[in-house]
């Protein structure tokens, strides 16, 4: 497992205490898990994602990531409707291990854009990890 100083926590994203990230891309938000989350889980073998059109409230479980011997629930950082899922993960869930930021999971159309500002900044998230 990585030491804290080996983790990659990009500056331009918003984070949650449950180790998801969110990135604003025009009208929509892309969502994935942090480097810390993928490292803790180890080799990811399966990603269970919602269907396009599903709607969620902030904090709802929207899917799961599985390693061989653990399951991690995914909680949505912002309310909204799913407009796209990353279908590449169907066949290659290990992409999340390779680059957890390039390989997002869902894209949503947010119903409350102000929720973005409530997310943790990279430095606040890092502080959280340091405990």
């Amino acid at each position: 497992m990585k030491e804290l100083n080996e983790l990659n926590i990009p500056e331009d994203l918003g984070y949650t205490e449950d180790h998801e990230w969110a990135q604003q891309t025009g009208e929509t938000i892309k969502i994935g898990v942090s480097d810390y989350a993928q490292d803790q889980l180890g080799d990811i073998v399966f990603a269970e994602l919602p269907a396009v059109g599903d709607t969620f409230n902030k904090g709802d479980e929207f899917g799961t990531l599985e390693s061989v011997k653990a399951v991690s629930e995914l909680y949505i950082p912002m309310s909204g409707e799913i407009v796209a899922i990353n279908e590449e993960l169907d066949d290659a869930p290990e992409l999340v291990n390779e680059d957890p930021y390039k390989n997002w999971m869902i894209e949503i159309k947010p119903s409350a854009t102000e929720e973005y500002d409530q997310l943790l900044s990279a430095s606040a998230y890092m502080d959280l990890l340091k405990g």
């Binding site: 399966f46 061989v68 011997k69 399951v71």
Partner: protein
């Protein structure tokens, strides 16, 4: 006691290491108020020979013993079991191993179960088969729960009244504390399930049919599958006699999404109803909703082929309350045995044995009809059927018992409307002479 290896010297030496004065002292953490003070009513310990005598004496009280021809199936079938299967399943390397959590020490169990999964999948026409459930009845209950999981917000499941009554009772017990509704579909005059009421029902997650059903009747699975799928419900089929699929169409080829049933016929004795095994399979899209263990193929560090338990994140030891089932122990050695039996039969032998069961059953059917009995259901059957006699059959049943034949199961206890009708089960173990004896009694 010969299973306990400790000498007094060992005990003294070990107590010295643990720092205890006596064996009793090891239990000082147990409060007095929790202590066992009752005198047990257990008999004095028996030597091996005394135990043999005791068990023999009990065995002698079995009025219907192994010398009887029991012409009843009803979920428990008498088939010949090859000596090879008995010998191989008794190998203690298989028998005394635990669940294969350490695959390097359990490749025998793992490859054997992988082979069982594969042969069973081929038999049933399924894409995936698990490493077994407890029995046919609990497998049906689990299949219905699986249907409800896949059906997400749907709240009902329907089962045919021609499914084994004990299987339906088990499903009802499993579903009792839930909000889900279990609906029973009646059977038609020909013995098949009446699906006409299905279109009036909403929110049905899954519909289950047994084929051959409890009456031995072969259901029109293909037709049923279309009706059920038109209702956007999953199609579950179950069985108590897997040998039927050596001759009949595989449920998977008829559109079944989930198939479950009892596998006792494949190399296991009746043993008063257990242990048998719940066979359980599904089509590929539903794999992650399957209950129970799965063995998968992989490679080791040197690239050598090997087998492991896999997709374990569905199971209770990882997902706890969110698991697909609470099952942990399955019927491991019974699944191995079923694999051994299927391997011994082979494709050619399976078809031959299955055909023989069918032909023998038809022989008794025809012989009874020729003597004035009536087949209660007209639809084709496999190795069981329901018959109605021109007069009370009970006296003939008694006379046949005196000739060491149990001539069918009277159905009034299970289906009050079928009082006085008998369910017969015939296998390759039933001789023509015995069937003639039964037919002769009808005439007299």
């Amino acid at each position: 006691m010969r299973y306990l290896p400790h000498t007094q010297e060992d005990i003294t030496a070990m107590l010295q290491v643990t720092g205890n004065k006596s064996l009793e002292d090891l239990f000082s953490g147990i409060p007095e108020s929790c202590r066992m003070t009752n005198d047990w009513q257990l008999p004095e310990p028996k030597t091996e020979w005394e135990l043999n005598d005791h068990m023999q004496a009990i065995a002698q009280t079995m009025k219907v013993d192994q010398n009887f021809k029991v012409l009843i199936g009803a979920g428990s079938y008498h088939h010949h079991i090859p000596e090879t299967v008995k010998a191989l399943m008794s190998r203690s390397e298989f028998l005394t191993a635990y669940t294969p959590y350490q695959p390097e020490m359990a490749q025998g169990t793992l490859q054997g179960i992988f082979e069982y999964q594969t042969l069973t999948a081929r038999l049933l026409g399924m894409d995936v088969v698990n490493a077994s459930m407890y029995d046919g009845a609990s497998a049906l209950a689990e299949a219905l729960l699986m249907g409800l999981r896949i059906g997400k917000k749907k709240t009902k499941v329907a089962v045919s009244a021609a499914i084994h009554p004990h299987y339906r009772a088990t499903a009802a017990a499993y579903l009792c504390p839930t909000e889900f509704e279990l609906i029973e579909l009646p059977y038609l005059e020909d013995g098949r399930t009446d699906l006409s009421g299905l279109s009036d029902l909403e929110d049905v997650a899954a519909v289950a049919l047994q084929s051959p059903n409890f009456f031995g009747v072969i259901e029109d699975l293909t037709g049923a599958g279309q009706v059920i799928h038109d209702q956007q419900a999953l199609f579950i089929t179950c069985f108590s006699e897997p040998l039927a699929y050596g001759l009949l169409k595989k449920p998977g080829d008829c559109g079944a999404d989930i198939v479950c049933g009892e596998g006792q016929s494949f190399g296991l004795s009746r043993s008063f109803g257990g242990p048998g095994l719940g066979m359980f399979g599904c089509k590929q899209p539903f794999t992650r909703n399957l209950p129970g263990r799965l063995v998968g193929e992989t490679t080791d560090l040197d690239g050598k082929r090997g087998y492991v338990l896999t997709l374990a994140t569905r199971e209770q030891h990882i997902r706890r309350e969110k698991a697909t089932s609470n099952i942990c122990s399955n019927q491991g050695i019974c699944a191995m045995t079923a694999g051994m039996y299927m391997a011994s039969l082979g494709g050619t032998g399976l078809r031959e044995l299955s055909r023989l069961n069918y032909d023998k059953t038809q022989y008794l059917k025809n012989a009874l009809v020729a003597r004035g009995a009536r087949l209660f259901f007209e639809a084709p059957t496999f190795n069981e059927f329901v018959v109605e006699f021109p007069q009370d059959f009970q006296p003939a049943h008694q006379r046949l018992l005196e000739q060491n034949i149990v001539a069918g199961l009277e159905l009034g206890g299970l289906y009050p409307k079928l009082k006085g009708r008998y369910l017969f089960g015939i296998t390759e173990t039933t001789s023509r002479q015995d069937m003639d004896k039964v037919a002769d009694e009808v005439q007299s």
